[in-house]
């Protein structure tokens, strides 16, 4: 048995479709918590409207957002996975078929950066990252479409031999620059260390972590809690119109590096589109999110 072209094509297309119509369970839980603690009337009203709208999308199969975002997949490959056929092409073909058949139709968002021409396909689309992990006999596929609102405020700064305090200040300055532009309450992913590209990847991976899970290292977990409180003290609030709920969580990942320390920060908007499934060598598909 093996993980086939056909199965990957079907599962990756479905993950994208599903991600457009419901928010993750851990996001819903954060909304309910925030509604219990947020005191600004306007912020409460906005949070309630968001949660109501997400529930309406889920029960009626409507889209959360008119902007479906570009398809982006993070794939973890167990070392025991056996693949059959052109798996990369399966993702391309699955997306192409979906854009022809999905209802309601998608708007054109895949943009050629050199000509600004928009369509449903393009170079390197869908965006896919591949990581080899452990000994599993599966592909673990997360789909997290990305659009301008959440995508454009990400940044990487490279510091030299910074203290922890300097790293945290750098993170908060990037967060301040974004203000309330990214459809908060956002998830904030932070990647520290390694190289420029590695820190950016860690930051992206950190945004994919469900709310409520902390980094297993106590020092980093404390940093996450500290930064979450600090961001929410800035006061941008839901949709950037004021309140104490700008982020549902700052997630931090780090890697060892050299004396230069890249600090990468990225955001995902409140709908936090994310779905996840595992395809096993046996052909079994396990929906995780």
């Amino acid at each position: 048995m093996a993980i086939t072209y056909e199965l990957v094509k079907e599962v990756t297309a479905n993950l994208y479709d599903w991600s457009l119509r419901r928010i993750p369970e851990s996001s819903k839980a954060e909304f309910r918590k925030a509604l219990a603690t947020e005191t600004e009337p306007q912020a409460r009203q906005t949070l309630a409207f968001m949660l109501d709208s997400a529930e309406r999308a889920e029960t009626t199969g409507k889209f959360l957002c008119s902007d479906a975002g570009v398809p982006s997949y993070s794939i973890k490959i167990g070392s025991g996975a056996r693949m059959e056929g052109d798996i990369r092409q399966a993702i391309v073909d699955g997306f192409a078929e979906l854009t022809r058949t999905i209802q309601p139709p998608l708007l054109r968002f895949v943009t050629n950066p050199l000509t600004n021409e928009r369509s449903f396909h393009g170079k390197d689309m869908p965006l896919v990252s591949w990581d080899l992990v452990g000994e599993g006999d599966y592909l673990d596929i997360t789909c997290a479409p990305k659009a301008l609102g959440g995508g454009r405020w990400a940044a990487v700064e490279i510091l030299v031999s910074p203290s922890l305090g300097e790293i945290e200040r750098c993170i908060l300055e990037i967060v301040l620059r974004a203000g309330g532009q990214h459809c908060p309450p956002v998830v904030i992913g932070v990647g520290i260390g390694g190289t420029f590209d590695h820190a950016a990847k860690l930051s992206k991976d950190a945004t994919l972590r469900p709310f409520g899970e902390r980094n297993p290292e106590p020092m980093v977990a404390e940093m996450e809690e500290r930064l979450t409180r600090a961001v929410n003290q800035m006061g941008f609030g839901p949709m950037g119109v004021g309140g104490a709920t700008t982020t549902f969580g700052v997630h931090v990942e780090y890697a060892s590096g050299h004396g230069f320390t890249p600090v990468a920060v990225s955001f995902n908007c409140w709908i936090n589109r994310r779905t996840r499934a595992r395809i096993y060598n046996s052909g079994v598909v396990e929906r995780i999110e």
Binding site: P41, G235, G240
Partner: protein, 212 residues
């Protein structure tokens, strides 16, 4: 729903009605508005305004929103609306002052707000900016009765000038009023002022990361 009960307004607003609104007012909208998310669209609009030509869809003294629209399209008149949702207005900061003044807009909107140059133009003309909730397409779309017209069909659907008929659209929030008050400016200034204190309050255990 918690918070203040919304004011019901019909678009287009008169400039007097726009001037009567204040930052923080919560509003439900009826009536006509034109929406697009296109950068090329708004560059073309600026070129038309600067050349003294009328736009193919009249927007004079009207409502112009940064919002994507999807609808049935067989090449004739726009069909049933599928969904709408706002986009980030601030990326059009450099174009909006010309459009606000040149068209005499009385209402604009989207998400993320507009910069000081637009706030100034809005005060001169009598125009407000409404903040729509991004990502809440399922509920917001229920306030759009129809796409009644569109222009510039050479552009992709969400980049066209799409005229909408709204009915109970929102709630939306007055985030910039016609008296020079902007929630965005106020919150950014306040966050900037608070940042040094916030950073001090972090008080992480300082590690001296010098090379050993």
């Amino acid at each position: 729903m918690t918070g203040s009960s919304p004011i019901r307004l019909s678009l287009p607003l008169t400039s007097e009605a726009a001037r009567a609104l204040k930052v923080g007012d919560v509003v439900l909208l009826d009536g006509d508005a034109v929406a697009t998310v296109g950068m090329p669209t708004q560059k073309r609009m600026v070129a038309e305004v600067e050349a003294g030509r009328e736009l193919p869809l009249s927007l004079r003294d009207g409502a112009f929103f940064h919002m994507g629209v999807s609808y049935e399209d067989d090449g004739g008149r726009p069909g049933a609306v599928h969904y709408v949702n706002p986009t980030t207005s601030s990326r059009f900061n450099h174009l909006m002052p010309t459009l606000i003044r040149g068209l005499g807009l009385t209402a604009t909107g989207g998400k993320g707000g507009l910069s000081q140059d637009s706030v100034d133009a809005m005060r001169e003309v009598g125009c407000v900016y409404f903040s729509f909730v991004g990502g809440a397409s399922a509920l917001l779309s229920e306030g759009v009765e129809a796409v009644t017209d569109c222009a510039w069909r050479d552009l992709i659907m969400q980049f066209r000038l799409n005229r909408l008929r709204l009915s109970g659209f929102g709630p939306v929030i007055v985030a910039i009023d016609a008296n020079g008050n902007s929630i965005y400016e106020r919150l950014m200034t306040s966050a900037r002022e608070r940042l040094p204190e916030i950073i001090r309050s972090l008080d992480p255990t300082e590690h001296d990361n010098e090379t050993h």
